[in-house]
Structures are given as structure tokens and as C-alpha cells.
Point group: C2
Chain length 335, copies 2
């Protein structure tokens, strides 16, 4: 090969590489978020991300400050007919009941053991807190992690029959990836238990344990038989819901997010806190409008109620995701 | 230029690049940690890092699990003659005293305002907690951050006259860099206040806010005059010291560290927790032995006492850093 051929080859390769690069760039505009309908909701997300990542934009935000927070229940995975973590709690109560003969005559445990869930939950929040404490406490953090992992292996959703970790929203998985590809760090901020989520969020959402914020049981450090362990007590230490969400964000991140994504009034304060930040922000409310592919609920739901949030979204110009219209697919395909 | 010349040039450049690469590699062995004496302490650190990062080593640990935790006071920066945060608290009490006429006749405030520190601190832990609460609470998180930043600008150490952020240990800065260059994530786990550290740890240590774990005031989310804010109360929510350290680590990281670095009995449980992990671990205790360049103190010190820790280090084979022998320099040079 002579010099000119070598130089031509070099130029050809360089040109091809540049073309590939440009294709990549235009792709991020037209082919990003493939499960999202091409329309104003998807446009709002892409416009925001392009504005805060463009160094010559007045809305530019450095990567270190591109904090995106996501609620989990009803926002990254489904939450009907009951929070999945509550189903775990009920299953675990049944599993460990032989160690607690007193539960046969104590509510709400007695009703759970008779499979009478309506009576068990009739005690409202107080009953739920008792179920959570009894099923999530009185063991080490390692034992609890093992219990969550074992449950996820075999548990199936009562109406779809799917493993719970398949009941996640494909468009949100794409949004998480898209944000990370644009320098965002992605965080979960959930009313659910932090130690219930951490065993699986990295595999399912690409979110590592240290980026999961949630409710916490009281935990103490103890040396038992010479072995240092962390022990979970029968007491709830912190509830990461409503006004607790901005507090949890501050405790764990120490920075104000620029993007917040939620689906219920429990996320309202997280969105208010984000919206009040000094840079351009994006607040997303997922509206459950799809009774065929998922569930329909909002202002009157016993779970994931979205009432005041819908009103504030209108007032503040937040982006409401209409699940039925804005999502081409809801759950990941099975292949 | 003919083909052979071009090919020769290409080969030459490739060879040079490879040589540069190899130089880089051997440098990491012989020239890493330049402020550390070439001896067993430095060797222990390098041996550990090489073992856990070598994919063909039985001690290999994936990067995601290479969590390194560092105490701050007396471990990354000095802590004599008083914790620097306590000096901040005292300065702030004096600054806001005009808003609190009642302090002129209430201890420990009255003694602080008379510059009689021994009397102010004679009340022991109770007095210190009162000083911390009054100086760290009753304002928003943004206002507190501004107060810390303003103080750091002008405050100077009482005996060295240096800005506090220059009283950091050069060998530890090198260790942090060395660990990060080997895929570790570096975290602060301090008894100090998390919001006192976060404004400056990234610039000084390369540790971002979300990787700082510390003691916390009670914080609530409030909408004041239509503005969402986080308000710091006059109440301590969590003390990240002693048995609190493994709890703080679990709350914020959700993973057990493989390297822990501390200097006092307040770090003992953090080292025990790390040492008990399933992989190879490295536990470091910094022993303050250098009265000329820094301070000498251990078993009887009122601040940063290292007593039980020294005994446990011997029993468990932890690495004790002898400041006088192991560090060629203590503080960064001024250029």
C-alpha cells in the first residue's frame, strides 16, 4: 500500500467515525425513549435534558448537580392491588407465625393467619404499622436481606402472575437510562423500606444501594457471640413519605434535585422542594389512566392517591404523564 | 513521506505510548503515596489495594464494593486543641448573641460571652450539646450552609494561624486519591455534623456531599411564605459516633466497607464492623505521635481518645499509622 492509499484509508475511517458520531447525536433526539409516544410529554423531557446539559444554554447545570429523584411504588413499578412490600409483609407474617403462637389470638395477625385481609387491614394505619414492624424487625440486616431475596424468587403478583420485578414500567426504565446517559445521577426516594428495595434496585433499575432513600427501621450495632452485626428492632425510625421525602433527600444527598418524578400526593413535597430550586427543574406526575394495561386510579384511591398533586401540577405547570396516551408499552416484553 | 517511514513512525509512537503506560504502572507501586515513609505501613496499604483490585487474586473485590470510609476529626484534619466544629459553634454563639439577650445570664452561654471557655465547657457533654444545638439550629439548611462558608473564609486556627481547611493531612489526601484511582468510592463517616462538612469536603478532599455521613440535627420540611424550605430545629436527631457509625454507614450506603480509617475509640465500632466483613479488609488507626509537627495524644486525651482501639488493633492485626514515623510530611505545603 502506498502513502496516498494509506492516507485515503485514514481519511475514510475518520469520516466514518465522525458520521457514526453524528448519527448517535441525532438518534438521541429522535430515537430516545422509544416506549414514549412522540408528543408533548416526551418533548418536555427531552427539551429539559437538552437545556440543562447544553453548556451554551442559560439553563446549563453541571453534571454533579444533575440529581434526579424517583418515587418507586406506582412510579417505577405497580402498586395495585396492594403495595408489594405489604404483600411481602403478609407473606412473612404467615411464614414466621409458628415462632409466634400469641398471634393466633392477636389482631391484626389472627386475621392474616385466617387469610381474612380486609379484617386485618380494617385497623388502618395502626394495623399496617404493626404488620410492618413484626415482619421487618427482630432480625439482623443480613437476615432481612436474605428474606427479601428469597421472597422475590418465588412470589408472584396476585392478578398478573408475574414476578414483582417484572411489574416495572418500561418507559421509566428508558427514562432512567436516558438521564444517566446525560450525566444525571438517578435516585429512588420512596415511602417503602430502604432495605426492602436495596437487594434488587441495581439489577432492575440500575440504581445502586447508596442511591436508594426510603423508610427505615430502628437499627443498632451489636456484637453478638463476638460477631458484629446490625440488628433491626420492632420500631420504625423514619418514614420517607410526604414531608419526610425532602428530609430524606437532604439527609442522604445533601443537594436539591433538579428532576423529581412521582405519582401520588405522597410525592407532593418532594416535587415542591425540587420545583423551588434555583435552576431550571422538571417535575413529573404519573397519572394512572390505563385500566386495560395497568390500573386506573387517582383522587379517591386508597393506595397512591393523587388529588392535591393533580391540582398543584396544573397551577405550577408540572408535566403530567398520561399513562394511556403517553406510553406505547407499559411493562417490559418477556423475551 | 513514504509508506515505510509512515509505518516506522506509527510503530515508534505505539512503542512510546506502551512505555509511558508501563512507566505509569510501575510508578503506582514505587511512587504512590509520596508523603508516606517507605516501610511496613505504606506496604500494608499498597498490598491490600493491589490484592483487592487484581482480578486474578483470591482477594479480588469488584469496584462497586470497594467502599472506603474515613473518620474526619483527627483523621483527615486536626482536632486540637478543640474540635474545629466546636470552635465554629462558639464563634457563632458570640455572633448571634445580640438576638439572645437571655444568654447573658444562662450557662453555658454566659461564660462563652465572657470568653471563659473552661467554665463554659465544665458542664461536660450536656453543655456541649446545648452549644451545638443553639449554634446549629433554628435556621434553614441554606442559611446554615452560608454560615459555615462565611466562617471558613475568615476563621484561623488558634495556634497555627492557618485556615482550618489547610489543617488537613497531606498523606491522607494522597491515600484518598490513590484509592479512587483504584476504583474505590471514598466516604466520610464522622461524629461531626454532616451539614458542617458538606460545604467544603468536595473541594478539600474530593468527597461530594452525598458521600458524607455525619451527625444530624432534626430537620423538617416547611412551606414559609409560599417558599418550600428545610428548617433545622434545636434538637439533635442522630449522633454518628461509636456504635452510631455502622448504623450511619448502613443508612446511607447500605453496604459494608472493606477499608476503614479512624483515629479514636469513637471509630472502634466502624472498624469492627468493617473487619467482620466477608472479604479481605483493611482497618487503619492513626496514632497521634508527632508533638513537633502536630500533637501527641492517645489513651488519656479529652479529645480523640485512642485507648481501647489501640488494644483491639493489636489483637486484630489492624494497621496502626505512627504519624511521626510513617508520614514524611503532615500538612500540605503552602505553594
Amino acid at each position: 500500500m502506498d502513502t496516498r492509499r494509506l492516507v485515503s484509508l485514514f481519511l475514510l475511517i475518520t469520516t466514518l467515525a465522525l458520521c457514526a458520531c453524528q448519527a448517535q447525536t441525532s438518534r438521541s433526539g429522535s430515537e430516545a425513549l422509544p416506549s414514549w409516544t412522540d408528543g408533548p410529554t416526551r418533548d418536555a423531557i427531552i427539551d429539559f435534558v437538552e437545556a440543562v446539559t447544553n453548556t451554551s444554554s442559560p439553563d446549563y447545570v453541571p453534571a454533579a448537580d444533575r440529581i434526579a429523584v424517583f418515587d418507586n411504588d406506582g412510579n417505577l413499578w405497580s402498586e395495585q392491588p396492594l403495595y408489594f412490600q405489604l404483600i411481602f409483609a403478609i407473606d412473612r407474617i404467615k411464614e414466621i407465625a409458628p415462632e409466634h403462637p400469641e398471634w393466633r389470638s392477636t389482631e391484626p395477625f389472627a386475621s392474616i393467619l385466617r387469610d381474612d385481609l380486609p379484617t386485618a387491614l380494617a385497623g388502618g394505619e395502626e394495623a399496617i404499622l404493626q404488620i410492618v414492624a413484626a415482619s421487618h424487625g427482630n432480625l439482623t440486616t443480613d437476615e432481612f436481606r436474605d428474606a427479601v431475596e428469597a421472597w422475590l424468587e418465588t412470589a408472584r403478583h396476585p392478578t398478573t402472575g408475574a414476578p414483582y420485578t417484572r411489574m416495572v414500567y418500561q418507559p421509566q426504565l428508558e427514562l432512567l437510562d436516558y438521564l444517566r446517559a446525560h450525566g444525571f445521577s438517578t435516585w429512588i426516594v420512596s415511602g417503602g423500606g430502604v432495605d426492602f428495595m436495596r437487594p434488587w434496585t441495581e439489577a432492575v433499575y440500575g440504581i445502586p444501594p447508596q442511591q436508594v432513600i426510603g423508610s427505615r427501621m430502628k437499627i443498632t450495632f451489636e456484637v453478638k457471640d463476638g460477631k458484629p452485626t446490625l440488628f433491626r428492632h420492632l420500631e420504625i425510625d423514619f418514614i420517607d413519605d410526604k414531608a419526610g421525602k425532602p428530609v430524606g433527600i437532604h439527609q442522604q444527598i445533601g443537594k436539591r434535585p433538579i428532576l423529581a418524578s412521582g405519582n401520588s400526593d405522597g410525592d407532593l413535597q418532594m416535587l415542591q422542594y425540587t420545583h423551588a430550586g434555583p435552576t431550571r427543574t422538571l417535575c413529573l406526575y404519573l397519572h394512572h389512566t390505563d385500566g386495560e394495561r395497568e390500573w386506573v386510579y387517582d383522587r379517591d384511591s386508597h393506595i397512591g392517591r393523587l388529588d392535591q398533586g393533580l391540582d398543584e401540577a396544573r397551577i405550577n405547570g408540572w408535566t403530567v404523564i398520561n399513562m394511556k396516551e403517553d406510553w406505547l408499552t407499559v411493562f417490559p416484553s418477556d423475551e
